[in-house]
């Protein structure tokens, strides 16, 4: 995980999932939770979800919108969007390198 989420510690992975989920548009907590489970196959606990949301919000990577009923949607900020792009490009490059080496090693 690179500098964007480097200081988030054990919440770095859930944070990346949340950013990726918000990549397609604003979502509230429950929608993020179900979406993260769908895209990553990992169950996101409510405590972890909000611990990560609080960290992302504090770092200006996401922002809260006006609540709809009692549910509050979140969306990526400009900073969050560029951080997510950098993270995903880094992961993509890492995956390509790993796969290439695997092929070369055969």
């Amino acid at each position: 995980m690179n500098d964007q989420l480097g200081d988030i510690g054990r919440f770095a992975e859930p944070s990346l999932f949340i950013l990726a989920s918000l990549g397609e548009g604003p979502k509230h907590g429950y929608a993020i939770m179900t979406d993260v489970e769908a895209i990553s196959g990992q169950r996101l606990g409510p405590g972890t979800l909000y611990a990560a949301l609080a960290r992302l919000e504090k770092r200006g990577l996401i922002e809260a919108l006006e609540p709809e009923d009692r549910r509050r949607p979140y969306r990526l900020t400009g900073l969050g969007e560029s951080a997510l792009r950098t993270l995903l490009e880094g992961l993509s490059s890492f995956a390509r390198t790993g796969l290439r080496r695997l092929e070369e090693g055969r």
Binding site: H28, G29, Y30, M33, R43, G45, P46, G47, T48, L49, Y50, A51, L53, A54, R55, E57, K58, P67, D69, R70, R71, R72
Partner: protein, 254 residues
């Protein structure tokens, strides 16, 4: 009180004010499993240890007196635990209250008396400093509990313990307006266990059980109380979550 409300109360007030409503909504949409509850517990510990919110709606400005009161509670609790540990160690065998090492026992009692003196200061300090939060009943209960230590010091330990149990139990409900409800509950629970042990209802090892509870429950409960008092008075009450509104007008004006 539902489990969800209880889980939510584990989070700091600032966190509940900001995320409480949507978090409750999430838990209503997906009722938490056992694993989720553990995750929420971890989240609450994290929110307390690593607060991410810079704006705390519960404004507290602890004065030097508040910090001293908190320190007295922590030291009193630590001394109680030291006292009980020494008494148990100074006994020649498990379950016996004979004193094997008199010098060690003397050190233990010195620590214990100092602890009781500090606990008296904390209780009287609570009654004086937090009279608006405690109300007349809570303040009176704190004074009764403080007097109980004098009875205990002067040798009337049974009378002292009955007064202490009654005083602390009566103090606990209003104490939860000052410190976390779990901290406010720990003290009466440990005190009631002490009383039961002293009257012979708990444990079969004579007074060793009493000292085990004194050192392992009563002492730590005072340490927790001390930690709970370190922030001083609340200038505002919780903005979200279940609160007792009765303390609101006076606390807001403080």
């Amino acid at each position: 009180m539902s489990t969800t409300t209880w889980l939510l109360r584990l989070y700091p007030a600032a966190w509940r004010a900001r995320y409480g409503a949507e978090f409750t909504e999430l838990l209503l949409a997906r009722p938490p499993s056992v694993r989720d509850r553990l995750d929420i517990l971890r989240g609450a510990v994290d929110a307390r240890l690593n607060p991410q919110l810079t704006e705390d709606p519960v404004l507290r400005n602890p004065t030097a007196a508040d910090r001293l009161l908190a320190l007295a509670g922590v030291v009193a609790g630590a001394l109680f635990t030291v006292w009980a540990t020494i008494i148990i160690l100074a006994s020649p065998r498990w379950g016996s209250m004979d004193v094997g090492d008199e010098r060690l026992a003397a050190i233990g009692y010195a620590a214990g008396f100092l602890g009781m003196l500090l606990a008296v200061c904390v209780l009287l300090g609570l009654a004086a400093r937090y009279v608006e939060e405690l109300g007349p009943v809570g303040a009176l209960a704190a004074i009764v509990a403080a007097l109980a230590f004098f009875f205990a010091i002067s040798g009337a330990s049974l009378v002292g313990l009955v007064m202490l149990t009654g005083g602390i139990a009566a103090l606990a409900p209003s104490l939860s307006r000052i410190v976390h409800p779990l901290v406010a509950a720990a003290l009466p629970l440990a005190t009631i266990m002490l009383a039961l042990a002293m009257l012979g209802f708990v444990g079969s090892e004579g007074q060793t059980t009493f000292w085990l509870i004194w050192g392992g429950g009563f002492g730590p409960a005072w340490v927790l109380l001390g930690f709970g008092l370190r922030h001083g008075r609340r200038a505002d009450l919780l903005a979200a979550g279940p609160v007792d509104q009765s303390a609101s007008p006076s606390a807001a004006g403080a």
